[in-house]
Assembly symmetry: none
Homo-oligomer: 239 residues x 4
DNA sequence: CATGAATGAGACTTCATTCAT
DNA sequence: TATGAATGAAGTCTCATTCAT
């Protein structure tokens, strides 16, 4: 187990995450031949994501990852020097992209902050919470102690921006007179943590989760959550 | 700390009631060897809890568990046939006791349901959320797919009773006229999931979590959360 | 594995084989109390015989032997310092006794040598070949290389006397004019080896051996064998 | 020596026909790595035969087998999933080839059945009885109870065909008027078992067997045995 | 004497990693 | 670049043996 971070803290695999955004917006100059070559590391990372999410770092099997990616075991080590490097690449590649997608929604929003929150949460669920990328959160929750560098990375790249975003939204609600004055940090976490929990829970339990009778419907879960957070459980007189 | 010996510590531990006959005859010199025989499984389970929470199932090392427990490698296998059995014992032993402790609070409560919720959550945090037993949740989140039997056990022994308890509390609030009518299941999850998330988060990140500046203060987190959930973020006129 | 014979070539267990003959012919002076005590090692040896024959030396399990003998594992080591010592005791105890029983038959026999051979073989089958003691032969066949000392012991105590006995019988037949002159050593082995083979074969295959249709009937096997060996397969004119 | 590569070397060896495509294109430089890949299983099986015959299944050590084969411990498990699989491969590989070699002799034999028997036995001794393949018989005698599947396999592939062959020979002798009428099954066993016993005995005792003075000479043993079995020990008048 | 808890060397097996091709 | 045969460290588990009771 990696108790101390190895000296080479970044994977030396050639260009395996810089073009993540490129593939999102396909550049025009990419020749077909090299696109296939450049795709290899991504296919491996995608395969590794699934395996790591299923089995955890220690439980994941490089051979199984290779098979999922349709390559031989040796090929994995052509692109990633060690299993740890591959793991880091998996986390890094799957953290940046979805978050960027999500954040754009909250900018330049017209309408009530309540609607912004509802829309933002549904958007997050669609883009992240319901996708395999959500497994990254589950993964880091388990491996944070063994990969403090990744935990920090997660804090910097996911938590901090996410919290910042939440603060902006709440501040907007206060400024517009919709919300009362609150502690933005704490409230941001209160507001968002149920979604994170639900995402991790569904990653863990799959769709066959008989928690309180049937499986949890995310849409209903979010709507109810927002309703509670904004209006409260207690009776309130009509304004 | 799970040092309070749970009644049923494991399904695989062999006959450890051999010296009940010895304790029947009131010898004053307590035999050290057989005293240990009773204490050993608990010590091992306690050590294993820490190791499993830190490293996950696959990453945990039986030798390391033995060392933490102050016994030799072989001794672990005297009490638990396989690593999996030990893992199951860890989950089972650390689920029943804390849960029972917590549940007693909600019975026969006198006072407002709001106070009951606040008190109940602080109690849970004290009894479970802030203890290593919370690591069990983090653990199961990762290993549920590999231990479906344990996942089911967790559902039956933790999730279902917990949800039932939440429903009772909410129903009480409705019956007493404090709360408006809500979907009990969904609302129960909305209400409780932030605490679960916080507990798992702190298990993962330890005390060095610079999430939104300083570490999260659980007391503040809970109080703010309850305030939001009951009264909402939005401005409300005085009743 | 014991590649070289340990320095203490004889088990140091107290009197575990000297009284083998004593138990065969009960001495009058044995007090009841100590008989029970003296019986322990024999019970262990008997249990060990079964286990060793079933599993071989390396495959045998001391705990299983103890259970078969109805004692605890530690007790085995009270009487036999090591597993090797126990093995040696098993071989020694089960070689001497049956052989002595058998040999007495051939002395002072009145009648034709043909009848002596037939009777002697049936006797051997009853006393040895069909009993668990026959497993010793199978055992030594496997472990001879690892226990050269025992192999030599077997040669000295079993093979040599047995061959000597066969020679005497054959010589008697020649002297009485029944048999033609033959090489006594080779013929002795030719004559006896089928019985040894059958005994080992049945030890190995149990009763469920579908060799040539039904199981081999030892009585028929012996009678046919003697008939062939004495009269031959070829047609012969009546004398 | 079982260095002649048997056609089917193992059921568990993985795809070793991968380089059939390479051999299709006639490269002059034979690739050393993949050459080994074809040779390895046979080398390992040959090494395992020796180890298993010496030590038995439980006593055999995979590391020692690897060393005998000149490979590392892990390589053994590249070709054979478990020690049991390796054992099965050893038995299977060393049964088919020698038996086929032997059986061909008895077909289309011209001459007396007596000569056929003598020649057949000497042939068997040369092809099987005096080779390490004979150790398989000794091995199965010990391990039959633990590997019932292999015992059955041995019955089907060795015992039954061998017995069938013996029956054919005896029937031929009867048909040609050489032999009297006998029970073919029992007589077949009587006729052949001394050779089996001698083979196993020499496997067990090696060359240092001081049975009846010097080591047993197999040729003399067989000739004497056939002489006895055909003509009998008793005096017989000239025909 | 008898027990059985405890030990630790050693067994089989896995798997990340290397490297010749 | 891609492969997969080969490696050996490390892991789980077994079991002969010890020893306090």
């Amino acid at each position: 187990m990696p108790q101390s971070p190895p000296p080479n803290h970044s994977s030396t695999a050639p260009n395996q995450q810089t073009d993540t955004c490129q593939s999102a917006r396909p550049t025009l100059v990419t020749p077909v031949r090299s696109r296939r070559k450049d795709a290899r590391p991504h296919e491996i990372v995608a395969a590794a994501l699934a395996e790591f999410v299923d089995k955890g770092f220690a439980g994941a099997n490089v051979q199984a990852i290779a098979k999922r990616a349709g390559v031989s075991k040796g090929t994995v080590f052509v692109y990633f020097e060690t299993k740890q490097d591959l793991f880091k690449a998996v986390v890094r590649d799957n953290i940046a992209a979805p978050l960027n997608t999500w954040r754009d929604v909250t900018r330049n929003y017209r309408g009530s902050t309540r609607d912004l929150i509802v829309q933002s949460m549904h958007q997050w669920w669609t883009d992240v919470g319901s996708t395999p990328a959500a497994g990254i959160s589950k993964l880091l929750m388990q491996e944070a102690a063994n990969f403090p560098e990744l935990a920090q990375f997660y804090q910097d790249e996911v938590v901090a921006p996410g919290m910042s975003n939440m603060r902006d939204i709440l501040q907007r609600g206060i400024d517009l007179g919709e919300f009362r004055v609150m502690d933005l940090d704490i409230t941001g976490m209160n507001l968002f943590s149920p979604l994170l929990f639900l995402a991790m829970w569904q990653q863990a339990m799959g769709d066959k989760q008989p928690i309180c009778g049937p499986a949890i419907d995310a849409r209903q879960f979010i709507d109810n959550h927002v309703s509670l957070m904004l209006d409260g459980m207690c009776h309130r007189p009509a304004i």
